[in-house]
Every structure is written in C-alpha cells, then in structure tokens.
Symmetry: C2
DNA sequence: TTTTATTGATTGAACGTTCAATAAACATAT
DNA sequence: ATATGTTTATTGAACGTTCAATCAATAAAA
C-alpha cells in the first residue's frame, strides 16, 4: 500500500532501527534482516533508500554526530560568553540525556572501533573529534597561554570521552550527575591556573 | 614436519598474528584465514589449539590485559610507597611503550566495543576496569575522604582511558610524553585538595 | 500509463568448522 | 639396529551457514 513521500519517513525509521539493532546485538550482528525487521519493512528497502548497508551505517553515524553537535550549539548559544560558561555548555552537551542513552553510546563506541578501518566513518569521526578539541582550545586560550590551553583542551576532551566510554561499558547507567561534576572540577582546576598567568 | 612441543610456540604465534590482523583490517575482517596466513599455518590449527575463533580472541585479549597488568605491577613494586608515586606508576604502566603500539591500541578498542555483546570478553573487560579503579581509589583514600577519593579515582581512570582512546583514533602516534604530563597534572591537582582536608 | 513504494525469494560470495589424510617424532618390542 | 605401533602436528578441501545484494513481481497513486 504505497503512499507517496515515504522517503524521509523510511530513512528516519531505518536509522532508528539501526540504533536499536546495534543496541540489541552489536554492530557485528546488526544484519540488514534484523534492522529491516525492527523497522517492519523488507530488506530490499534498505538498498532502495540507502544504496546498501554501508550507506545506512553512514547515515546513522551522521545523525548521531549531528544531534550531538546541535545539542552543544544550542546550549552554547544560551550560555554566557565567558570561557567557563562556554566550556560548561560543551560539557553539558556531551552529557545530554539523549546522548547517554544505551543505544546511542553503544553505537558510538561501535563506530569508534570500526572507524579505524572505514575511511568514510573515520572522516566523520575526526571532524567531530577536532571540533570538540578546537572549541575547547579556543575557549581556554582566552585565559591561558597557548601551550597550557592546548593541554587543558586535550585533557578535558579526553576526560569527557573517557567518562563516556566508562559509562558505556559499565553495567549500570552512566551517572550523568557525577560525570558532569568531575568534568566541572577539572575545568575549574584548569581555570584556577589562569590566575597564575594573569 | 612436526616437531614436538609446538603448542606454546603456536599459541604465541597465533596471538601475535591476531594482533597483526586486527591492526591491518579490524576485528570484523580478522578472519581465521587471514590470521592463519599471517602466522604461516593453516586454518585448521586454530581450532586445534584454541577450539575455534572465539577461543583465539579470548586468548588474545587475555594476553593484552595480562601484559598491561604485569607492566603496572612491575612499576608499582619499584616505586616508593606514597600515593603520588604509586599512582604515577599506574599512569606510567598504562602508557607503557608496549601498550601504546598501534596494534595493541586497535585491538583494545575493538575488544572494548565487542565486549558489550560477548559475555566472556565483558567479564575480562570489567575485571580490568575495576582493578584500575579500585587501585586508584585505594591510593587516593590514603589522603582524601571517601567521596573525594572516589571522584578522583573515577576522573583519573576516565582521563587515562580517554587519552588512550584519542591516541588510538588520531592518525598520528600517541604523544606519550604529553599524555603522561596531562595525567600527572590531574593527579597533582587532586592531591593538592588533600591539603584542604588535612 | 507512468511513477513511486515495497516485497521476498534467489544468488553468489565469504566465513568458521570439520575431518580424513599425511608425516615426523617417539616408544616398545624383536 | 630394525620393525611396528602410537602420539603429536599439520594440512586443506568439503560442508553448511550466514549475509548483503539483486531483481522480477505487485500494487497503490498520479
């Protein structure tokens, strides 16, 4: 019973089903049969709209990255224009409720691992990594010398990723409250140094 | 041309070949054919010595975890028995040259991702995670109240994993010097707090 | 009638496992 | 020393399974 204008609906549906399938069974077992089943469509549809499995995985990663970016941009726009407030907004965006759901974290980690061997995923990954780093670096540079700012940015970026990674691996749900607190403390410790240079 | 006593040799050979294969092509493409080829043996040998592919992957992860553990224990034994020196030894062990080789980092990350869906790998993973955390926690508790020590341990564990993760993903080799420096700084910032509670 | 949407059986490739076959090394008996 | 049997080591073709991709068929909408 084909209705017209299904494309955007199906695309979204299939991306969601992909997240669900990866959450359930891991990227390695996220077969197109399983994904199609979760979306209540046939396998043929995937090739029809995404040209193949790879296209679907690509689109899924783009969506996850896109929503992370949007969440951060949104919070930064509403935050005061001080290094501390801006960096806090970045931290908050990374620990947004939407980002810390099991399926999103698992998908993220799966992409992280497979991005090492798929050049298109690697590109997406690196763009994202560098954006996080350079945003942090820019803000730290407003109150720290270059070298110090770079180290602080590297450290905070690593801390965020690490808290996230450990949250994804732990059996319990990520304690967002606590993770934010740890990241805030790191931020404040770095900013305190700024006084040394002021 | 069978010589006797090949078992330990083949086991080691195959584990090394597995690391190499994962480095080259990723866990998903590390087929037993490829692994056997890298070790210059036939595919049947893998089942013969490891009971199957899963057994080989299990053994590979055990070896990587084992060497990390040994490296840390070794450094800790040689270090002074102060919180600072002990934690520095743990940091150094995690950034040991052997651990930061590309193949080991890639394998680690691949296992991280797949451990979410393979209970035996997950067990190994969690034992390791918890050991790192509880060792850090124990040392921090020598100079910080419980809650503070837990947060510091969580933060440092996450920072180490994050630096490592970002090193694995970056196209360049991990800058061990810099990573250690960032982790040391975090450690010192946490220890400085200890004075507040003293 | 043409376009858009969808199905699902079919196809071919890739993969892990199995196993009969082979042979060197070792043990024991002659 | 020679012959015979047993264990250990290894191979690689054959097999069965799984999966992504394809495409002819179907049908609603325009």
């Amino acid at each position: 019973m084909p209705k017209l204008g299904m494309e955007p609906i199906r695309r979204h549906q299939l991306v969601q089903a992909t997240l669900q399938a990866i959450d359930e069974a891991g990227l390695a077992n996220a077969t197109i049969a399983r994904i199609a089943n979760r979306a209540n469509v046939s396998t043929g549809i995937i090739s029809h709209y995404f040209g193949g499995k790879e296209g679907l995985l690509d689109a899924t990663m783009r969506q996850v990255l896109g929503e992370l970016g949007k969440g951060i941009a949104h919070r930064r726009a509403r935050a005061e224009d001080s290094p501390r407030a801006q960096i806090r907004a970045i931290i908050d965006g990374n620990f947004d409720e939407h980002q810390v759901s099991r399926s999103v974290m698992k998908t993220w980690l799966a992409f992280w691992a497979s991005s090492m061997h798929r050049s298109n995923l690697q590109r997406l990954q690196q763009v994202n990594d560098r954006r996080l780093y350079s945003n942090l670096c820019f803000q730290f540079r407003r109150c720290l010398p270059r070298q110090e700012a770079q180290n602080s940015a590297r450290g905070l970026a690593a801390l965020i990723d690490g808290l996230w990674l450990r949250g994804a691996l732990a059996s319990k749900t990520l304690d967002v409250e606590r993770a934010r607190h740890i990241a805030y403390d790191y931020l404040d410790a770095q900013l305190q140094r700024a006084d040394t240079f002021a």
